[in-house]
């Protein structure tokens, strides 16, 4: 291996535990959620231990320090994705981020909004979080939902893009990297098609932001969402980024304290973005934890992480290719591909694959991975999915390959 990130694994306390059968933990489920380094866990607890107070409302020192820490986290997230601080909204999750955009665009008071007859475009490989909010927006407004499909090997099918993204299209909401196939989508081509018809582009960066460098300006998108918990950060925090001039045109979605400009019994006016999208006492400790996660990722280098995961992906794809009865669901080559590898084992249901692997301490995900329409299209019940982060290594992959052999022999599948 050219790049060696093995020194970092010790920063993640969970790897000190033993799992079923006294095995060491081989964690291959980072696409679901990532593990957390000590620096993140301590940033969150130190917030509580030293500066805990409600932000933005305070006339006292703790409130000032908490507000500072919260806003510093915002700047840090902004610089992580090449954005301005005023464009970063803290949410509870990527799911909430995507729902907020969909609700706000569905509000007739927003100065850009979706109307009956408009069209929303997604892809057939979206995670439910970037599909159902749009289905519901379409339902509420009388808009229609169309989608780009995918090819046999799990790449986006752009052959009919000019038909799908057409003059009626107002929103194109796509994933940056499929959480099933591992495919990285050609956002530039999709954005270009959207720009040509004046549609907004919403990017689900859940599987990209944690793994390789992204820059909202270079991506040329309008909104972007990702989760803290997949980015080595705490649970309970997500990010919504939107271009400032767009956020200013949108109505808020969650209403309450700290998001107003003025309130009477009969009505209220709003603060400017991002504040108007953050009602209530926010998830302050989690924002601070996410900021620590970003510092940690940057100290290693997102490019290094991407390269390292690329090598792990290569190694696993080669290993799986050498086995019989294994079908990779997604690209077999390494082009535009992240460290998420789905596969099926002939004659063994994914749930049973996962169960046997678990017995050897290997944690994978099985099922439809919240991309049920994708599975339906492939006519499969689900896949077994291995996904990486920087704390994985070749040994993990060896164990997985050995584990799959054990699955096959346990279920007496022909060698």
């Amino acid at each position: 291996m050219n790049l060696d990130l093995s020194e970092y694994k010790k920063d993640f306390p969970i790897f000190q535990r033993k799992v079923r059968g006294g095995n060491s933990l081989v964690y291959l489920d980072s696409a679901a959620t990532s593990q957390k380094p000590t620096a993140v866990i301590e940033a969150e607890s130190n917030f509580y231990r030293t500066i805990n107070a409600a932000v933005h409302r305070g006339a006292h020192l703790l409130a000032e320090e908490a507000s500072d820490a919260f806003e510093m986290s915002r700047s840090n997230v902004a610089s992580f994705i090449g954005a301005d601080s005023s464009e970063v909204v803290f949410t509870k999750s990527a799911t909430e981020s995507l729902n907020i955009i969909a609700y706000s665009l569905g509000n007739p008071d927003s100065r850009i909004n979706i109307k009956s007859g408009d069209q929303i475009v997604v892809t057939e490989m979206e995670h439910h979080a970037n599909l159902i909010p749009w289905q519901q927006l379409a339902k509420r407004t009388g808009a229609s939902l169309s989608w780009l499909s995918f090819t046999e090997d799990g790449r986006i099918d752009l052959s009919n893009i000019k038909d799908v993204i057409n003059s009626k299209t107002k929103i194109v909401a796509v994933t940056h990297q499929s959480n099933v196939f591992g495919t990285i989508l050609p956002i530039d081509e999709i954005s270009k098609a959207a720009r040509a018809v004046g549609a907004l582009v919403v990017l689900d960066a859940c599987q990209s932001a944690p793994h390789f460098p992204i820059n909202v300006k270079e991506l040329d998108v309008d909104f972007l969402a990702f989760s803290g918990h997949k980015t080595l950060g705490p649970t309970g925090i997500g990010v919504l980024w939107g271009k400032h001039q767009l956020l200013e045109k949108l109505e808020p979605v969650v209403f309450g304290g700290s998001m107003v400009d003025s309130v009477t019994m009969t009505g209220a006016t709003w603060a400017s973005a991002p504040r108007k999208f953050e009602a209530g006492v926010p998830n302050m400790a989690q924002a601070v934890g996410l900021s620590a996660a970003i510092d940690y990722l940057r100290s290693i280098g997102l490019n290094n992480i991407a390269e390292y995961e690329h090598e792990l992906t290569k190694y696993l794809l080669e290993g799986l290719a050498s086995m019989s009865g294994i079908k990779v669901i997604g690209p077999l080559d390494l082009k535009d591909r992240g460290g998420v590898i789905s596969f099926t084992v002939d004659g063994v249901h994914p749930h049973d694959v996962g169960q046997v692997l678990d017995q050897y301490g290997i944690a994978v995900r099985t099922g439809h991975h919240c991309a049920w329409p994708l599975m339906r299209k492939l006519k499969i019940a689900g896949t077994t999915r291995a996904s990486f982060h920087l704390y994985n290594n070749r040994e993990d992959i060896k164990q997985l390959i050995d584990g799959i052999e054990k699955v096959k022999s346990y279920f007496k599948v022909a060698k």
Partner: protein
Amino acid sequence: MELDSLYQEVILDHYRSPHHKGLSDDKDIQVHHNNPSCGDEITLNLKVQEGKVSDISWDGVGCSISMASASVMSDLLIGKTFREANVIFEAFMELMQSKGRSDGDESLLEDGVAFAGVSKFPARIKCALLSWMAFKDAAIQVME
């Protein structure tokens, strides 16, 4: 190995050669159930005659536990009165909630006792229950 208590031979046999699989045309009611967390699905046809479960047939996709459970359940319930079926249903529920502390009543559950080990794997209990829940739903609907 812990795994063997989950995947008893009886279960794997039923999984490989499931009984009553394939939907028969002759039915009083059809229900479709799924397990949204893993995507497993079952379609179940129920036929009733004189207060008895006269036939169950089913089709579906799912893991060894869910498919074997549908097979075992069909064997157990076909020919029973609804009262008897309910006793068996409750016994199976109890077994699933036993966290590995019960062996199950073999006189009642027959091959069903092979699922005793499943109760130690919380994530798999809903697999074992998929077909049973479908049956219960069908039975309630047919009574109405």
